[in-house]
């Protein structure tokens, strides 16, 4: 590639900017104002440089490899920027840029009260490690970057550490993250043993050459290891705890891109390390995807903490991405590379889409949190009038995440449906039944997500304010609005410009399946097809244009019939009671009550009502109401495992008697065991 030196310098300059940003954060602990401007300014510069490097790689469609000029001998710190890593780096760059802009305003009020410099330090370190996770060219470097990312994310999550739930969430995150890393380590070691090298290039298509059971074991190890990070159900429990407690700009990055490292890892393993994975592997991923999507949205519906609701939706969307990946795996196993490419594109497209709208929604939630001081939706309301720009941005995000046309979520969900539909004809075996079933459950998920975002937007932003703080809320600063505005524009652009953007995937599918499908998918320049024009077509830009053109009709009706129609402002009908108050409004809990009743087998809802009265039960003086749902996975899986671990640990404690002789004996026994093992080999 001709421009390799330029690409290399762009990428390295981005890393240096992040490093400088981290240093500026540390140096400025005593001068928060300068620290904030320097750390986040440099982060913005780094993000823009990385966007440049990623865009260049995708544009020229060629991979570049080089070594970073630092580090220890023995291990090579080599970086590989190919189409797949550039794609993820592009997503990271877009989010990092908008979040950095948002942070200028968001952190201004934290100055003096919190240590903004430290936040800037870990923020830049996390961006640096994320960039390297997506670009590392060998397993060792990858795991180092992976660990730095996990640890910096831990510090960012626990930033507001004076609150007990935050500390607990941070610890749960760290433990689960390391459990996942352990699985990855074993997986990489198995591969390294087979190839004799730690380089990713030596793992290419290697996993499929392993003997049968090892192949399966490697697949499962990587799936679970990366699954923890991605937050698939049932490995998700850390996610709805950790994402909401972080500062909101960090939540946006965590849900937007940090969990996508798991998706990147899966894409790497499934489509680079494996050539043709077994059929059950595809089924496993597809099944996990459907389960995560459906349960994720069902749990999201029960939340009235705005940020927790968004965190559960991340699980849902990871599920939708995995439906695409699972279908791609199945198509590969069944020998349909073109269909596999389309399914992979659906998954990857949704990855970027979700990154953008979820980050947007978290930033919106952060603005609301800043303005009202609460994450509880029951205390919001009426914000559309107090915070018009935030409201519009949040609405764009809500429409996009609900998969409604003509925004970006619709495009990727449409592609997923088309891939699943094509899957039915791809085989004669009973396997094909899974595709339409997955499609139907995806439809259920999408409809429930729409219900959930009607609730999230409707309860938080519409009608009357439900609390004093909501009625006094003020619009957030310009930079915060700009950060959200960029992402909202991204939702529109990725929706309307789908046929242009789809070309980005050509080098990725070329690398993974050896086919390029964008020419078939965008055969008609403004219309997206399902691979063949006969199979199905959609045009988001056409839909948008038609909606604009058709709006001539209501205007015409207005001119012809409604010219003399007057508008009278009056109170909402309140059933004759004196004056409508916020107490008359539907609550978030009330809104999702029908769903709680219908799916009560899953939720096992409990509620307690305590009424205090003096004279008659019909005139209570105070009512206390509590409603909660059963945390199924914690109760039936994690608590028993935790108990078991503690019991084992208690037994093991007797080994650790504190006697030096006993320890010497342990060392001796271990040595003998290892020697025997070595001889035996």
């Amino acid at each position: 590639m001709q421009n390799a030196p330029l690409l290399e310098s762009l990428f390295n300059a981005g890393l240096i900017a992040y490093l400088a940003g981290a240093a500026a954060g540390l140096a400025g602990i005593r001068v928060p104002r300068r620290a904030r401007v320097a750390a986040f300014g440099l982060a913005l510069a780094g993000a823009l440089l990385e966007i440049g490097a990623a865009a260049m790689t995708l544009w020229y469609g060629a991979a570049a490899t080089w070594s970073l000029p630092f580090g220890v001998p023995l291990f090579s710190w080599s970086v590989r920027l190919n189409a797949l890593s550039a794609y993820f780096n592009l997503a990271l760059g877009i989010l990092a840029a908008s979040v950095s802009i948002y942070s200028f305003g968001y952190l201004r009020e934290m100055e003096g009260r919190r240590n903004v410099g430290v936040l800037g330090f870990f923020y830049n370190i996390m961006l640096l490690s994320l960039t390297l996770v997506f670009a590392a060219a060998n397993a060792f470097f990858f795991l180092v970057a992976w660990e730095v990312m996990a640890v910096s994310a831990y510090f960012l999550v626990s930033f507001e550490h004076e609150k007990a739930p935050t500390r607990r969430a941070g610890v749960v995150f760290l433990i689960m993250s390391h459990a996942g890393t352990g699985l990855l380590l074993i997986g990489f070691l198995v591969l390294a043993q087979a190839s004799g090298s730690l380089d990713f290039s030596s793992f290419h298509l290697l996993a499929s050459k392993l003997p049968g059971w090892e192949q399966g074991a490697v697949f499962v190890l990587f799936f679970l290891g990366f699954g923890v990070k991605a937050g698939i159900i049932p490995l998700h429990v850390w996610l709805p705890a950790a994402h909401p407690v972080a500062p909101s700009n960090i939540s946006g990055l965590m849900s937007g891109i940090v969990i996508k490292t798991g998706i990147y890892g899966m894409a790497l393993v499934f489509f680079d390390f494996f050539d043709v994975p077994p059929v059950w592997a595809g089924m496993l991923v597809l099944g996990a995807g459907v389960l995560s999507a459906l349960l994720g949205v069902l749990y999201a519906l029960m939340e009235h903490d705005l940020k927790r609701l968004l965190a559960y939706h991340s699980i849902e969307n990871i599920g939708i991405i995995l439906i695409g990946f699972g279908a791609a795996l199945l198509f590969r196993a069944l020998g349909h590379p073109t269909l596999a490419a389309i399914a992979l594109i659906a998954g990857l497209y949704h990855t970027l889409n979700h990154a953008i709208f979820k980050c947007l929604l978290f930033l919106g939630a952060g603005s609301v949190l800043r303005a009202t001081g609460t994450r509880n939706m029951e205390e919001m309301g009426g914000l559309i009038r107090r915070m018009p720009v935030t409201a519009v941005c949040f609405l764009v995000g809500a429409v996009a995440i609900s998969g409604l046309p003509p925004l970006n979520g619709f495009v990727s969900e449409w592609l997923t449906y088309q891939a699943l539909l094509a899957g039915f004809g791809s085989t004669e075996s009973l396997t094909r039944m899974v595709f339409p079933i997955a499609g139907a459950l995806l439809a259920l998920t999408a409809a429930l997500a729409a219900a959930c975002f009607v609730k999230a937007f409707g309860i938080s932003f519409l009608a009357l304010p439900r609390s004093q703080s909501a009625s006094l809320a003020e619009e957030v600063s310009l930079s915060m609005r700009a950060g959200m505005g960029i992402l909202a524009a991204g939702c529109v652009a990725l929706g309307l410009g789908a046929t242009w953007f789809i070309r980005v995937f050509d080098p990725i599918t070329q690398q993974a399946m050896g086919v390029r499908v964008s020419a078939a998918l965008a055969a008609k320049s403004l219309v997206l097809t399902s691979g063949t024009a006969r199979g199905g077509t959609v045009s988001t830009i056409g839909i948008a244009a038609m909606l604009v053109l058709l709006s001539a009709l209501p205007a015409l009706f207005w001119l012809v019939w409604s010219r003399n129609s007057q508008r009278i402002s009056g109170p909402t009908w309140d059933c004759g009671l004196p004056g409508l108050t916020a107490d008359n409004e539907y609550t978030a809990t009330g809104f999702s009550k029908p769903i709680r009743m219908i799916f009560s087998a899953l939720y096992r809802p409990r509620r307690e009502i305590q009424a205090e009265y003096e004279v008659s039960p019909y005139y209570p003086t105070a009512i206390r109401f509590e409603s909660r749902i059963e945390p199924t996975f914690e109760k039936h899986f994690y608590y028993p495992v935790e108990d078991w671990l503690l019991r084992v640990a208690r037994r093991m404690r007797s080994l650790q008697a504190g006697s030096i002789h006993a320890y010497l004996a342990y060392i001796f026994l271990t040595l003998i065991a290892l020697l025997l093992f070595g001889v035996h080999r």
Partner: protein
């Protein structure tokens, strides 16, 4: 280009003019079956005309979203209608989206309608929004299963293509998979258009209304747009059912002679389907809200059976 514009105009006019007629037909037929005189076939036109000329009362709590909602609902529904073959298999904007786009455009309308209900701050708006979104969510998987069953048979999600394949196989609608898919879609139609036993379009009783509760605060031209959109949605869902299962008589492309024949067949088939709806509405009482999931479970089972029988036969 000119021809395309004409096709769009013709179909738009048909949707706008035919939809109130179908609503009127159902209302009148239902009244007759219940030994009442009924409002007459043209009453829905008169209602819309009257509402368009009336003044509007806007709740003081409402924001710009309340004003935007009627337009979004009307435009999204109308555009979805333009994607459905009505008098010719070849739809004017079929290239812009097939059956999936139709479903999702209706979803867009519903999304905003629910928000409009919440924006008023009245408990009814919230109640209607909550119930509407719940029932829609329960109907959605069945709708998709049935759509998938048909799309798999046709190998396409483009409606024109689905219809073309259906026309080619005259007696296909008697196949078990098609009959089961039809039954499933019919139940979805009942739920989506807010008909008894799921919702009662004629009620304004607080506890039983769903759709009416959402739009309780709308009046004048806004209400006209929403009511019109509701009847277009009903028309397009009925037409969808007809297109896919009994497409005979539908010309491939729009032509002056084919237009009249197509229109004749369409009206006859719409009348037949309306008759079915009227019978269901008259023979049943409205269900309690929490019985609706059971009905939707039946519909889902029918859809799943339809799919499985595609596999078997």
């Amino acid at each position: 280009m000119i021809w395309a514009v004409i096709k769009v105009l013709v179909q738009t006019a048909l949707l706008l003019l035919l939809a109130p007629l179908v609503s009127g037909l159902i209302k009148t037929a239902k009244a007759r079956l219940q030994m009442r005189r009924g409002p007459g076939l043209l009453q829905t036109y008169r209602d819309i005309h009257k509402l368009l000329r009336k003044d509007m009362a806007i709740p003081t709590t409402a924001s710009w979203l309340f004003h935007a909602t009627p337009y979004v609902v009307f435009l999204a529904t109308l555009l979805a209608g333009l994607m459905v073959p009505i008098v010719a298999a070849d739809t004017p904007v079929g290239l812009f989206g097939g059956v999936l786009a139709v479903v999702y455009l209706l979803g867009l309308g519903r999304f905003f309608l629910a928000l409009g209900g919440l924006d008023t701050g009245s408990s009814f708006g919230g109640l209607g929004a909550s119930r509407e979104m719940t029932i829609a969510a329960l109907a959605e998987p069945t709708l998709m299963l049935a759509v998938f069953t048909v799309a798999i048979g046709a190998g396409s999600t483009t409606l024109a293509e689905m219809v073309r394949v259906a026309i080619g196989q005259q007696w296909r609608f008697l196949a078990p998979s098609q009959m089961l898919a039809f039954a499933a879609l019919f139940l979805v139609l009942i739920a989506e258009t807010g008909r008894i036993p799921v919702d009662n379009p004629a009620t304004h009783l607080e506890l039983t209304m769903i759709h009416e509760a959402m739009i309780l605060e709308y009046s004048g031209p806004y209400l006209a747009l929403i009511e019109w959109a509701a009847s277009i949605k009903q028309l397009l869902l009925m037409t969808l059912l007809i297109d896919v299962f009994w497409p005979f008589g539908l010309p491939q492309v729009l032509s002056p002679t084919g237009f009249l024949a197509g229109l004749g067949w369409l009206v006859a088939k719409l009348a037949l389907l309306s008759g079915g709806i009227v019978l269901v509405e008259t023979a049943n009482a409205k269900m309690r809200l929490f019985r609706v999931p059971e009905l939707m479970a039946v519909a889902f089972t029918l859809g799943a059976l339809a799919l499985i029988s595609t596999f078997l036969f």
